[in-house]
Symmetry: D2
Subunit: 431 residues, 4 copies
Amino acid sequence: MTDFFNGIEPVRFAPDATGLAYRHYDPDETVAGKRLEDQLRFAVAYWHSFAWPGGDPFGGQTFQRPWFADDMDAARRKADVAFEMFGILGVPYFCFHDADIRPEGSSFAESKRNFEEIIAVFEAKMETARTRLLWGTANLFSHRRFMSGAATNPDPEIFAWSAATIKNCMDATHRLNGENYVLWGGREGYETLLNTDLAREMDQMGRMLSMVVDYKHKIGFKGQILVEPKPQEPSKHQYDYDVATVYGFLQRYGLENEVKLNLEQGHAILAGHTFEHEIALASALGLLGSIDMNRNDYQSGWDTDQFPTNVPEVTLAYYEILKAGGFTTGGTNFDAKLRRQSLSPEDLIAAHVGAIDVCARGLKAAAKMLDDDLLEAARRDRYAGWDSADAQAMLNSDLASIAAQVEASGRDPQPQSGRQEILENIVNRYV
Amino acid sequence: MTDFFNGIEPVRFAPDATGLAYRHYDPDETVAGKRLEDQLRFAVAYWHSFAWPGGDPFGGQTFQRPWFADDMDAARRKADVAFEMFGILGVPYFCFHDADIRPEGSSFAESKRNFEEIIAVFEAKMETARTRLLWGTANLFSHRRFMSGAATNPDPEIFAWSAATIKNCMDATHRLNGENYVLWGGREGYETLLNTDLAREMDQMGRMLSMVVDYKHKIGFKGQILVEPKPQEPSKHQYDYDVATVYGFLQRYGLENEVKLNLEQGHAILAGHTFEHEIALASALGLLGSIDMNRNDYQSGWDTDQFPTNVPEVTLAYYEILKAGGFTTGGTNFDAKLRRQSLSPEDLIAAHVGAIDVCARGLKAAAKMLDDDLLEAARRDRYAGWDSADAQAMLNSDLASIAAQVEASGRDPQPQSGRQEILENIVNRYV
Amino acid sequence: MTDFFNGIEPVRFAPDATGLAYRHYDPDETVAGKRLEDQLRFAVAYWHSFAWPGGDPFGGQTFQRPWFADDMDAARRKADVAFEMFGILGVPYFCFHDADIRPEGSSFAESKRNFEEIIAVFEAKMETARTRLLWGTANLFSHRRFMSGAATNPDPEIFAWSAATIKNCMDATHRLNGENYVLWGGREGYETLLNTDLAREMDQMGRMLSMVVDYKHKIGFKGQILVEPKPQEPSKHQYDYDVATVYGFLQRYGLENEVKLNLEQGHAILAGHTFEHEIALASALGLLGSIDMNRNDYQSGWDTDQFPTNVPEVTLAYYEILKAGGFTTGGTNFDAKLRRQSLSPEDLIAAHVGAIDVCARGLKAAAKMLDDDLLEAARRDRYAGWDSADAQAMLNSDLASIAAQVEASGRDPQPQSGRQEILENIVNRYV
Amino acid sequence: MTDFFNGIEPVRFAPDATGLAYRHYDPDETVAGKRLEDQLRFAVAYWHSFAWPGGDPFGGQTFQRPWFADDMDAARRKADVAFEMFGILGVPYFCFHDADIRPEGSSFAESKRNFEEIIAVFEAKMETARTRLLWGTANLFSHRRFMSGAATNPDPEIFAWSAATIKNCMDATHRLNGENYVLWGGREGYETLLNTDLAREMDQMGRMLSMVVDYKHKIGFKGQILVEPKPQEPSKHQYDYDVATVYGFLQRYGLENEVKLNLEQGHAILAGHTFEHEIALASALGLLGSIDMNRNDYQSGWDTDQFPTNVPEVTLAYYEILKAGGFTTGGTNFDAKLRRQSLSPEDLIAAHVGAIDVCARGLKAAAKMLDDDLLEAARRDRYAGWDSADAQAMLNSDLASIAAQVEASGRDPQPQSGRQEILENIVNRYV
């Protein structure tokens, strides 16, 4: 045991506690037919909680963690603290990038050795810890070699480096029985169109994703491949802009049945969407995989990756997930970081505890709302006119015959109320 | 002749004029191998210039046009003024919605009769005027019956009304030898997800677009079907969000070889893109059709539809169009409206003259820039590493063999400068 | 009685009701030392609820109200329906513009006569109804004469017309014992700097506001003069941008002790602020007057004026109001309009009922949060270092002596956690 | 001489050059009555060009400069390269923060010694170099001690540290004959209102600024004190939001005659304004000091600090500056950084050369536009109605007498065209 969380006890469900406790999250409560833990499938993000030093574009490191050093001892210490935190929180999952967990080596081979050594540490810990791996991923955006892209780099050697890195990360994810493998292309985009060949770069990216799918099948990895959309930042434009964009991309390269999506609240907002929109659209397109739960400051134009706090918003997100049947391989990963002024170990624990309770409240409200069927009944009602045989026949006919009917009938169809405020009032009964 | 433009003479190319004249637009100048007129293919938008009364959400009509009345006489007077303006400007094209040109009737049939009567007026005028039809379209968003969508309406009768309206507009476009037919779905989206069935509505929209394509073939219309993307406004969310979104939609319904796009500067900006991005992406995806040239105030979050003024921006747009081979059926439609304080007939003419000159400057700069090849040479250079057989072989291999090579080679590829500022300086030599 | 709300009974507090009822708003509940009705001081906005036809920039009227006509009979019918709705809701206040309540006349004098006749109707109704006037105001933005500004118009005759209109509206507000008089300058700004003399226009606006203050004193109006900030829309830029801007303006013209602010959630968001920021800042500057409660869609860049739905957000707004001592002359005006698809009378009632409940929940949570003092104790603690005599002496010394001390002491002050997530968790216990 | 810019010759004015040259900037050309160099007063920003390593929130250092080390030797080498670049560019000014030029020491005193040693290096170089100091400033935002503010910190010891640091930076600026001293409060704001006492923090900030003004007078510094507005980033909200906000702040603390503003294009845009708006407003309020010239990507919601490229935009900025009489102590500081992919020394030079040419084009166009008087004549015309004695008398009368006149006159004033498009066309003749 490290002494980092000195004195912080495992967090328990205790609705009336005054101290650190889950007030709403009882993992064993049955909600929508499953244990709450199995519905929400919470994961801690290694990068934000253990690797991020607290910097921003105008200031450097604020956190002073005992494991902040660029060597293997520090990496092992970091792993110790991470698993202690997983235990304190009782979360069933975690997620990581290669670069979060190991120091960069002086060569590809050394980086790989460092990485595999920590994977072995994880493997050992996971024999006793109950925390499993929701997903692994490769960091192909922080090192300067990726500054102009990974798969989309103008230099084929960097494409190769990226491919090799992904292979290692997929191997590690497979070895740890990860349930998904994620690709986020923060540098797969451009800073300026003036130096960019869009069509070529998209083809490179399509090719890389195809190789990933092939490799998955080759090694027998049963997890789901997930792409994580984000419209911009760090790049001016990223090819995986949003759900709709990735859908078009997957179809272009024949991958729409092999790849699903990992959706993030903050990325939805940067793309001009609500989170529930992105979830509903992914569900409609058969692409819903997993979520990165956080929130984005509505007044800030960058990715603030804050812990979720707004129960009504979170409720709408889980409502769409439950409507889609809930998670299968996916889960709720907190891709959220402390504010850089939140220096203490207690802040790190409390932020997760608060977020877990917010999600639990959201999911429970959503489940009740779905069960009561008020919203869905109203929705069915609104489209009921389409259920008639005539309407379906019309839908399957053609412009000329429809026009003939319309002109002949002389009918002037009248609009019906959309009842938005009444539906919003219904939601407010549950949150 | 009406007396609306009383005293305003046809606008001529006169670089050194002090009054109203084209200082940069000489339709007969050869640029990039064609007459400038044939490159730019300017169109006037009937709706903004002749039908819009100058209202905004906080104020009513400011324009007092002699043809503002809801009867057929006024509609004929409006047509007279419109064709006079086409003549004054010497533009080769115009565009219209059904609702711009005719009064709404008390029934579908009466609206249709009104519409066809004005189409006949147009037909007669076009026998002598040199102005042709760039595209026609149906207004399926202004009347209250469309408040919850046209193709995506929860009421099948409104779907039918919409289909019938499109048929009539396609017929009229065909009759006038229009070169394209456009669909813009301002109400094909939602105000709240709470009352919306996304999947069903997209299917309805896909079905309608398929019927449009079928009808085009049935009647032998040779023009191009174009969808116009816009992310939101008037709806909170519109299904035709941007180029990438429509691409995914077209693939979903098997229409990617039948339909292209009509792209608008202001819509690109509302979707978080530059205009040149949307053009470049449409070109890369084989979807570039036509453009709606305007500008959007960068500080306003709604569609300001202003006349274009910024030559460097316009240059980058035409650069992408020229790289794509220039327009075929498409053109430059000014989907731009006077500011509501610009009350005089002279404002209406001057706004178009200024915009035409801005576009002419942009296209000429773009043509020279493309011809000099400085940007393209730099771009080819940047990706030159991919030309080798080894690079191509690597691209077509697999993760495992690439990883083996990377690890074995021990090479540490170094990033190269992206040279953005130098490329921006090159552009500035041309604008 | 009209039959518009046919069958809708007065709304009562009934926490467990299944139909239309207040589930959270019991006007007689004591919260923070006052009746809830006296804390919240709800007002209905005449314009949105009775005068707005449902149009948007891409579509016309959707509502078909029996009082939509441009004559005095219709104006009287509208007043009947309005007071019926005030009664159904049991709200203590309403607000209006001159243009909401009377038809425009063919001359200034006729408009005034129309206006005064309806004021007399109101006066008569208010003898029996319990609804009072929270504030009156003049509509100096809808008619085309105001297109280039009211006080800031380049034409002195329009300044004069505006001044005269304000006088009449102040007289009417005084006559009806209004508790405030509001000025919102939707056209007091510019579309383009190219035709604008900023300094001159601000001086004109300062002069107008001074006249308003003088006139208030002259007629013995005891209500508060309020300016309503908004950054843009309909104008590209409005001079009353936000709280901070109006504060500078008031100081410039010596009016900071005479004028306070009417703050709107949606306007705060358009200006890049949270609502609680604007309230807290107004309070810090001594300018907090009243609020326009609504919400703005976070993905839309225009003023959506929706009914408030998010209890956690509303709670933070009322928390700042309670910290400032609560309302005096101000109140909670619903500057919120139905979505244009919400056609039915029931929608109009339900929207207000839902919003009233949201505000009641917010205020009650805020009161409890303030009473429990957890947030305020943490805040006092954070700044406790400033309480020492040394710290205060330092604050009142000078750079040179502070520098000497810092250098001599050799101390390296260490940052303390800002505890943001822990504070956010505290808030979540209340909402 | 270092060998960093090996082979790059001093940049000369050579309009027809094909290589690196000023095509538009001839420092000796007379424009608007002064040498162009004396109008534009260009400055290089030490931080972006010499201290920034190329990191962003998702990636680390990309630049590998020979002077990137945390010791005094490196600091001296950096100074050598900086002055070489000033010489190559021939710019008359530079600007710096303390933290740009010296390594942080292990104590306040050591940091001060490091700082003063480099100031001595600068002083020696400036004896022979022609580059002077436009302004100095203190970096009170990068080190973790400032994470919760400098002047506004909840810890008085950090206020003290900040005050002492400012004193040293003012001393150095004075010693180097700097023409201004700038304060930018990147951390003077908040991350969350929940832990913030707005009123107290503003008072602390007002007190610090008063001390700065007092100290300036005490030491006889003749330069101008400038505050630099920015709305947010790094903080969620910054107290110096924009021009209008700082104006209110200065009045509150009685500093409006002592302090002016340093305005930045990118900050204007983040605040929802055009750059020309901020300049025009500062001018109208008597606060125009100096500018930070750059550009902000219109699709990115953070401070991109790019080199300016758009001549029409830059022209409008300089037009307002020339209308205000041009710079006195202020100048054009390039607060602009290379894109992080622009790795080469040539990129650093070319970026400045391109930006200098863009500004020269803009200023020359603005001067001609002002000289030709077309815009100003139109502006005078628009407000001409206010020149009459009657209009002025009316402006100085009162609501009641104006109302009496309006009602009696029976006049219905008609709006006049704002002619925006015609004015925009005029601008386009110059750019």
